[in-house]
Each structure stands twice: as C-alpha cells, then as structure tokens.
C-alpha cells in the first residue's frame, strides 16, 4: 500500500523532475560537461573557493540558488491550480497541521535537493579551508530557503483563489484591446506561468552570454554562436510541452474555426518568433560589428526552424516527453554536424520542410 508521502511525491517530485528534464540536462552539461573529466574535481573546488572567498561572487551564487528556489515554489503552487488537481485542497487540508508541515518540508526539499547537495559540498569545502563566515551564510540561506516556502504552501491551502489580473490597467486593456490568437500562448505564460517563462529566458540568456564570453577569447566563429543557439533552443523544450498541453486543454475550439491550415502554421511560427525575440535582440546587440547581416539571418533561421520543428514533433500521436527528447536531441546532433560542415542553409531548408510536412499532415488528425 502506498503511503501519503509516496503518492504526493509522485504528484509533486516526480512531475517536477520529468517536466524539467531539459533544464537539468543543460545545467549538468554546463556544470560537468564543459570541463575535462580529469580536472572536474579541481574545477569545482576552485569554483567553490571562488565564491567562498568573494562576497560579490557569493551574492551572485545565492541569487541563482534563490531563483531556483522560486522556481520550486512556483511549481508547487501551480500544481494546486492545475485542472484535475483540486482534490489536493480537501485531502491535504484534512491532514494534521504538524504532519502536513513535515510533508511540505519533504516535498520542497526533494525538489530543492540539487541546490542542497551542491551547497552542502561547498560548505564542506569551506569548513576545510577555513571560510567559516561564508559557510554560515550558505547554511542560513539554505535553511531559510527550505522554511519560508512552507508558510507559502500553508497560505495557499487556506486561500485557494485563482490568480488573474484584475488591475485597472488589465481591465482597460481588456476593454480596448482584443488579444489575437498569436498571443494566446504568451498570455498564458505571462499571466499564469510567469516564473516558467522568466526562468527559461534567464537560462537561455545565460547560455548565450556564456557563448559570447567564450567566443571573445578566440577568433569569432559563427558556428560557435550557432552551437550556443542550439543549446538555448533546447532550453525552450519545457515551454513547448506546456504549449501542447495548453492547446489540448483550452484551444480545442480553435480547430473548429474556419481557418486554413497554412494560417494555423503561420500562427505557430509566429508564436515561436515572438518567443525567441529576446534572444534575437541579445544576439544582435552582442554580435554588433562581428557578424554580417546574412550571418545574423542564418542564426535566426536556424533557431526558429529548430523551435518550430520541435513543437511540430509533438503533433505525432502519443509522443511523450521522453520520446520527444530523443528526437529533439537526434535532430540537434544532425543540425550541429551540418553547421560544423557549413551547411547551415541546407539544414534550415530541411528543418523547415520537415516542420511544414509534419504540421500539414498531422494538425487535422492530431488528437490529445
């Protein structure tokens, strides 16, 4: 027989790690994949000593851990608002308060665990090397990050109101501006899942910033930037899965509208152009004077083509997150080698053709 905590871990912990597989893959790559295996321990020890010995650096690290903590809290709160999860209110609300707080703590620490593990090792390294005050700061910070969310969860249980904008500005906008279908998904993200889009954009910007930083150390190579772009596109996988689920749940009625297929396809492409717009601006600003206009267009074409194809793959019947990830990685590797061989435009054409074929053949026959 399953215990309450086992069931709740399935609802919260397992879903969290499954939904964030792409995020963790990129994170692990950045932390462990960019360094030669033999130097991995010394690299991380130096990194830890770096932030233990410098308070500005430590502040940045704590800020990143804090953002991850917010992501965890956001995930827990959003789960309560998901359709079909309303049963959590009467069930968790019936548990004795002390037992419930213990459950909150277990669930929260389980998803906050990657930070706790890294912070724990850093604290150990700090103790060995005599950085007692920074270690104390790390311990207090992380204990705090495990405690305050419990109060938020308790409050959520007491006040299960759904969040939506009712401010004057939003009401004015609602009255004077009609949302076009192109913006539906962006509205969904910004109104109901702001942390999700902000965290994806933050990490995507981080990858691009790192790419430009590394490229500045050597002769600028467009292919290097395109590799960074592929990684930043991969970070958007979580949003694509969300997009599919949003379409399945709420935009069923759109299929009944008398709209030609090509317009649906244009809308889909438009959504991903808008979604990738911040990265495009960042690339333009950072690549100013280093890349020609055709080079920039090549980069954008690669990014948008990958995004659209990865989203279109989700129109295949019964494709789950794991299978989708496999195809996405396979396509990414093929595109990477084509880019290395300077076959960027053939790659773009192939991606565009594949996306259009998948969409045009699958959209009308797709069934959640």
């Amino acid at each position: 027989m399953r215990t309450t905590i086992q069931i709740l871990q399935k609802i919260f912990t397992q879903r969290f790690y499954i939904q964030n597989t792409g995020f963790f893959l990129v994170l692990f790559y950045l932390l462990f994949g960019v360094v030669d295996g033999g130097n991995l321990i010394s690299y991380h020890t130096s990194l830890m000593k770096g932030f233990l010995g410098s308070y500005p650096f430590l502040l940045i690290v704590l800020l990143l851990w804090g953002l991850y903590g917010l992501k965890c809290v956001g995930f827990m709160l959003k789960t309560f608002q998901l359709q079909g999860y309303e049963f959590l209110y009467p069930t968790m609300g019936s548990i004795d308060k002390r037992a419930r707080q213990r459950i909150w703590l277990l669930l929260h620490t389980a998803i906050y665990m990657p930070v706790l593990v890294y912070a724990g090792i850093a604290a150990g390294v700090g103790m060995v090397h005599g950085y007692y005050l920074p270690v104390a700061v790390i311990v207090v910070f992380n204990v705090g990050m495990c405690i305050w969310p419990l109060l938020v969860y308790e409050r959520k249980l007491d006040q299960p109101d759904v969040l939506f904008f009712t401010g004057h500005l939003q009401r004015w906008l609602n009255k004077h501006f009609t949302k076009p279908p192109l913006l539906f998904f962006l509205y969904e993200l910004f109104t109901n899942y702001p942390r999700r889009i902000f965290s994806v954009k933050l990490f995507s910007a981080g990858v691009l910033w790192l790419t430009f930083f590394l490229l500045a150390q050597m002769d600028f190579d467009l292919r290097g930037l395109q590799l960074g772009i592929i990684l930043s596109v991969l970070l958007h996988m979580q949003l694509m899965l969300h997009h599919r689920s949003f379409d399945d749940t709420y935009l069923n009625f759109v299929q009944q509208l008398p709209v030609p297929l090509w317009r649906h396809y244009i809308r889909l492409t438009g959504i991903y152009i808008l979604l990738y717009l911040p990265e495009m601006v960042m690339i333009i600003v950072n690549a100013h004077g280093k890349i020609s206009l055709p080079g920039l267009l090549t980069c954008f074409a690669v990014a948008i083509s990958l995004l659209v194809l990865f989203r279109c793959l989700l129109y295949f019947r019964r494709i789950d997150e794991e299978i989708h990830l496999r195809y996405v990685l396979l396509v990414s590797f093929v595109v990477l080698f084509m880019i290395l061989g300077k076959y960027e435009w053939p790659a773009v054409l192939l991606l565009q053709a594949a996306a259009a074929i998948v969409f045009l053949t699958k959209y009308r026959t797709y069934e959640p």
Partner: protein
Amino acid sequence: MNTTETVIALHAVKKSYQDTPVLDIASLALVPGIYWLQGENGAGKTTCMKVMAGLIPFKGEIVLRGNVSSRQHPVEFRRLINYAEAEPLYPSFLTGRDLLELYLNTKGGDRQRIAAISTKLGIDAFVNNPVSSYSSGMLKKLSLLLAFTGNPVLILLDEPLITIDVQALSVLYDLIRSYSAKGVTFCITSHQPLDPAELTVTGTLKVAHKNITLN
C-alpha cells in the same frame, strides 16, 4: 430523400479511442429541422457532435448541403457548422470579447445581430472580464452566443439546457425557433426533455451500439 435538401450526410463514419470503437455509422442523412440527439451516458453523443463539428479526427466523410465535404473543404465545412460544448473551457486570461471577436473575425456574420443576442442573454455585463471570473452559467451563455456567430447551416448544442437561468433558457428557445425558421438545422443533446410547447422537434436521433438511428 433529395440530396439537395440534405443538410448533413454521414458516410461510413468511424471513430475509435485508442483501439476501442465508439462510433460506426454506415450512413445518415438529415433534412433541415430540429433534432434531439439522445443516448445513455457514454453512448457517444458528445463524440458524435465533435466528429460532426470537425473537432476530432475520424474515418469516413461528412458532407454538408450535398457539396461541402469535411475532407475536401475543411475550411468551408467549419464555416457552416457551429458547436457549443456541454462544459466549455477557455484560457483563463481571455475575455468574452476576445473570444467573440475571434469567432466574428473567422466565422463572419452579422455583428449587430450577435450584439443583440449578447444583450438579451445578459453577456454585455461581463463580456470584458476574463473568463476565469465567470460562473459556469456565464461560461455556458458565452459558448451558446459563440455558437450563433457566422452563417451556419447546422448548429450543434451539447446539453444547452444545463446551468443557464430561466430567462436565458427562454431566449435560447426563441433563438432556436427564429434560426430554424431561417433554415438553420439544430442538433441538440439533452437528458432533460425539450419543452414541446417551446420547440417542435423534427426527429429524434438515438445513439446506441456505436450507431445513430433517426426516428
């Protein structure tokens, strides 16, 4: 039956969920009128409506007015059929006006007529609010209003009588009568009997054993 009079004709329509067949309709043709679609819970009424509305994929073909095929003219097909769900669900951040504009922009139709219906149903009062603030009755009224947009020849109403108030029910009966008089066909599912004093039903469609029969 003269095919030019036929509003909708289903030919070898089959629908399965995974490997479980739900519908297997060899042939069905309806002339203009008001039809009451009956069936037990789980018989396939909603699936049938979704298939007719082009919302879910199926095998076979559906033809409207003898010449608009679900396969060959998917856009025109969707222009001629409107569908109101039993339990409508829309993105929480959209307002009623957002949805109304979307339907009017794609399906077309007389804006003034829709505005008049909106007023009669009392939707004006909340049309600028996000649908997340709507009660189930308000949401139902909005979905019914959307079903009357455009210039449909067939309107599918899935359980339209539930959750709406008595006044809105009277407006709905009125609308069905007036649209029907203009030649629009209605297919209505309801577990409650349709009031014979309000509506004269042309025929009863029974969904059972994966098939639909017209009585």
